[in-house]
């Protein structure tokens, strides 16, 4: 396993160069620059671009960036003048990770049992109901579900805060209460995927021979499910959720907007639409790292779930 981890981390190096290179070049090919505003005269824009070295050839700027990145200096933001991008991204990432983990917890806490129940009662009302709820979960986008939850639980019932963020240092309940609605909004779609995938792969696995054998040996049903079937059924879920996890824990623009949460997700979009080049690059690097780690974790999980896969490595 150590070899797998080392090899995968080494693979990060080419991934890093290709992703940052392509991003850098295409980003600079976008029309408009960070200082183009409705009102700023072109001569001023030129002046500011010179001051930030944006008039140099793109490859030169890329090498300068690489040099700084090697020293973990991702530069000042261009849109948020003079502030280091890390000062925005790191606190944002910390918030997004907490929210993302809660969303995943919710997704699995709801999705797994729903999927198992649906599989056992295949074709009957429990199955249909689970499917119905799951489909609503993926069909209703966060931009609708979020405000709906805010309206019902925040304003009408007044059980939970409407929006905004409280750090854990302000106490457990303030922290949790501010997390519940956004986590449900973020996790709803994933829980639906978990439920539906669990059902599908459980049905598949339940028909396989070792399960039949286990039944034949007279093992109790739930035990068979847990020990044998679920373990194998988890493979597609883990595979599918792996990269999704990366997306979830790095934040979602929509959920952050609806709940006024200072996460990192907003920078995926705003950095591009404000042509904040250093911010775009830092976001891409963080995201690439999280992706590689998430996929590595998935492959390590395979080893535990299905030892035969590790033979392939």
């Amino acid at each position: 396993m150590i070899r797998l981890i080392v090899r995968r981390l080494l693979w990060f190096i080419p991934v890093f160069f290709v992703v940052t290179g392509i991003t850098f070049v295409t980003m600079h090919a976008l029309p408009g620059g960070p200082f183009d505003k409705e009102k700023t005269p072109p001569a001023m824009v030129q002046q500011m671009e010179n001051a930030f070295g944006l008039n140099r050839p793109v490859y030169e700027q890329y090498f300068i960036w690489l040099g700084n990145a090697a020293r973990l200096n991702f530069g000042p933001s261009l849109a948020l003048r003079g502030k280091p991008v890390a000062g925005f991204l790191l606190p944002g990432l910390a918030v997004s990770v907490q929210l993302g983990i809660m969303a995943l917890l919710f997704a699995f806490a709801v999705g797994l049992p729903a999927g198992i129940i649906a599989a056992y009662h295949r074709g009957r009302w429990q199955d249909r109901t689970a499917t119905l709820v799951a489909i609503l979960g993926v069909s209703i986008p966060a931009i609708v579900l979020g405000p709906l939850l805010v309206w019902v639980f925040g304003l009408w019932l007044d059980w939970l805060p409407v929006a905004q963020w409280e750090p854990l240092t302000e106490g457990f309940w303030p922290w949790l209460s501010h997390l519940i609605l956004p986590a449900i909004t973020l996790g709803a779609g994933i829980s639906a995927i978990v439920a539906r995938l669990t059902r599908a792969s459980l049905l598949q696995v339940l028909n396989e021979d070792y399960i039949r054998t286990a039944h034949a040996k007279g093992l109790p049903r739930q035990l068979v499910t847990m020990r044998h079937a679920l373990r194998n059924a988890l493979i597609p879920i883990v595979t599918y959720i792996g990269p999704l996890t990366a997306a979830v824990i790095t934040g979602s623009l929509v959920v952050e907007q609806v709940f006024a949460i200072p996460g990192m997700g907003r920078y995926f979009v705003t950095s591009i639409t404000s042509r904040d080049y250093p911010m775009v690059m830092a976001v891409v690097v963080i995201y690439a790292m999280v992706i590689v780690l998430a996929n590595l974790s998935v492959d390590i999980l395979y080893i535990f779930i299905d030892p035969r896969i590790s033979d392939a490595e």
């Binding site: 409705e38 700023t40 002046q47 304003l155 805060p161 006024a260």
Partner: protein, 557 residues
């Protein structure tokens, strides 16, 4: 039992969630009508929202309203725009005089103003700030408003590092500790308005030299305004507290202001309804029509809604060099075919119909408005006169706008009005904002330009010079419509140098009439409005032309 063990963790989690929902201590009941700080001795706190994070708190670098609002509370201007009238009044400067030739402006500063670290605020600080804003290294986006100061343009446009400049040739000088003098390139009556702007507010040179870019961090910043910056949590909140060294600190009632970053207007509204914020909509565009419709039909909310004009205009730009819009009759027809009253009432939901560029209240803006009024019959007649009776033979043209929910609605409404009133087909084209700007710049070759596009303007300082001259002058501005120079441009320039107010007003009336009534360089169709919700216990002004002054706000106990 063992076989159900696997359910335990799942049930446990659900239980925690459920318990959290029901058995939770009810969140501190904050009903809408009572001021949140009933107990005496507690600091009076007001929570305000902003739709976007300030991009900087450095006065020399600020350019957007989200930065200017907090800067207004932290740093004093030479003058202040009165929140009720929009007229410049003394702030740091007690008085000011202009020489007879209109070229030398002398400001006498008050002597009791101090920085929050105890240093006195002197004329040297003003001089330092103006020089810093103009220096090319600073890369200040608003340096151009200072170009009326002697040598400012030459210094600011120095190409570094090949060329050099001498900052001491800049027309600003601290005569003594409390007198600062400006030399202008040409007479400019509007310099009084400019002196209220953030770009030339004094900044603490010793702090900037010590901390560099980080000087505006809460730990380092030194200010001279009514409020101090206590905290700045990125993308979340800025906290301000009353400045004990402010010379009028006894006039400041509110001890603490929290500026929450809430980027979604529906969320902003929900937080206002739940009592989490006291003022909503102050640092944002007007509420979307959906929200406005609901606010107006709600007894409580409608009573707390404050509306009025913002010094800002939205217009349709024409590519005047591209057929068929090279024909002034076509431009007139398209301008007259816009049903401005409906736009304001039903599509935007607030604002004022516009036929001229600068809104009422800007110095020099004609009152009543000049330009082309909405008139369907006249529009049809003009289009027929241009050779397209009932839209016959008119090519399909493109209207380009930038991706925004409001702009999308406006574009569709324009399209429908042109179709219904002129029987012409207009294609809509949405673009992401920076790409949109780049694609409609004056430098874009005409064959790549759309025939029509969306633009807007908001006041930097309340004077017509900032409007007709700085936006549409054929050579001295960006001149996005690519208009050729006419008498109107000369007049706009001359009006800026005129010192007699009555004459200036008349000159600007003519410029507005020529540019938007005769030549129709663009079709202004509405002046934007603000929609602000404030709890009944908040007593404050609703300025149209300036950022709000929190130090004048009151919380009624």
């Amino acid at each position: 039992m063992r076989k159900f063990l696997w359910l335990v963790p799942i049930l446990g989690l659900l239980l925690v969630l459920a318990a959290g929902c029901t058995a939770a201590p009810a969140p501190a009941a904050s009903t809408g009508d009572a001021a949140p700080q009933a107990a005496s001795g507690e600091p009076i706190t007001v929570r305000v929202s902003t739709i976007a994070e300030p991009s900087t708190l450095d006065p020399n670098l600020a350019e957007d309203t989200y930065s200017i609002t907090p800067i207004e509370q932290l740093f004093l201007g030479l003058t202040n725009l009165n929140n009720e009238t929009g007229v410049p009044e003394p702030e740091l400067a007690e008085s000011w005089t202009v020489s007879d030739d209109g070229l030398t402006w002398t400001f006498n500063l008050r002597k009791d103003a101090v920085w929050s670290d105890g240093n006195p605020v002197t004329a040297k600080d003003v001089e330092y700030s103006v020089k810093r804003a103009v220096k090319p290294e600073t890369a200040s986006p608003y340096a151009y408003v200072l170009y009326l100061i002697k040598n400012a343009q030459a210094i600011n446009q120095t190409v570094l590092p090949t060329d050099t400049y001498d900052i001491d040739t800049l027309g600003v000088k601290a005569v003594d500790d409390y007198t600062v003098q400006f030399e202008l390139e040409a007479p400019a009556a509007y310099f009084e308005s400019i002196s209220s702007m953030w770009t030339l507010r004094p900044v603490p040179s010793w702090v900037i030299e010590e901390f560099g870019d980080a000087w505006t961090d809460p730990a380092n910043i030194v200010v001279n305004g009514p409020y101090l910056l206590k905290e700045w949590k990125p993308a979340e909140q800025l906290v301000f507290e009353k400045n004990p060294t402010y010379f009028k600190k006894d006039d400041v009632q509110i001890d603490r202001v929290e500026l929450d970053v809430i980027s979604d207007q529906n969320t902003e509204l929900a937080l206002y309804e739940s009592g989490d914020i006291d003022v909503a909509g102050d640092n944002a565009g007007s509420f979307p029509i959906e929200a406005l419709t609901r606010i107006r039909s709600d007894a409580t909310l409608s009573a707390e809604l404050h509306e009025g004009p913002r010094a800002s205009t939205t217009y349709v730009g024409f590519t005047m060099t591209k057929p068929p819009f090279d024909n002034v009759l076509v431009r007139k027809a398209f301008s007259a075919a816009i049903d401005r009253a409906t736009m304001v009432k039903d599509v935007v939901g607030t604002g004022v119909p516009a036929t001229q560029f600068a809104p009422k209240g800007i110095f020099g803006a004609p009152d009543p408005e000049v330009g082309i009024a909405s008139d369907v019959e006249q529009a049809k007649a003009w289009l027929a006169e241009a050779g397209y009776p009932d839209g016959e033979g008119f090519p399909t043209v493109t209207y380009r706008y930038f991706s925004s929910t409001l702009e999308e609605a406006l574009a569709q409404a324009l399209q429908a009005m042109w179709k219904e009133n002129l029987n012409v087909d207009v294609q809509l084209e949405s673009m992401e904002f920076p790409a949109f700007l780049a694609s409609t710049a004056a430098t874009v070759p005409v064959e790549e330009m759309p025939e029509m596009w969306r633009l807007g303007w908001g006041a930097d300082y309340p004077d017509e010079n900032n409007w007709v001259y700085e936006v549409f002058h054929c050579t001295d501005s960006q001149n996005r419509p690519c208009a050729e120079c006419t008498e109107a441009d000369e007049l706009a320039k001359a009006a800026g140098r005129e010192t007699d107010s009555a004459k200036r007003i008349e000159m600007y009336r003519q410029v507005e009439e020529m540019m938007f009534g005769d030549e129709v360089r663009v079709a202004p169709y509405y002046h934007r409005g603000f929609t602000i919700l404030a709890k009944p216990y908040i007593e404050r002004a609703y300025p149209a032309f300036a950022p709000p002054n929190w130090d004048t706000w009151r919380v009624n106990q």
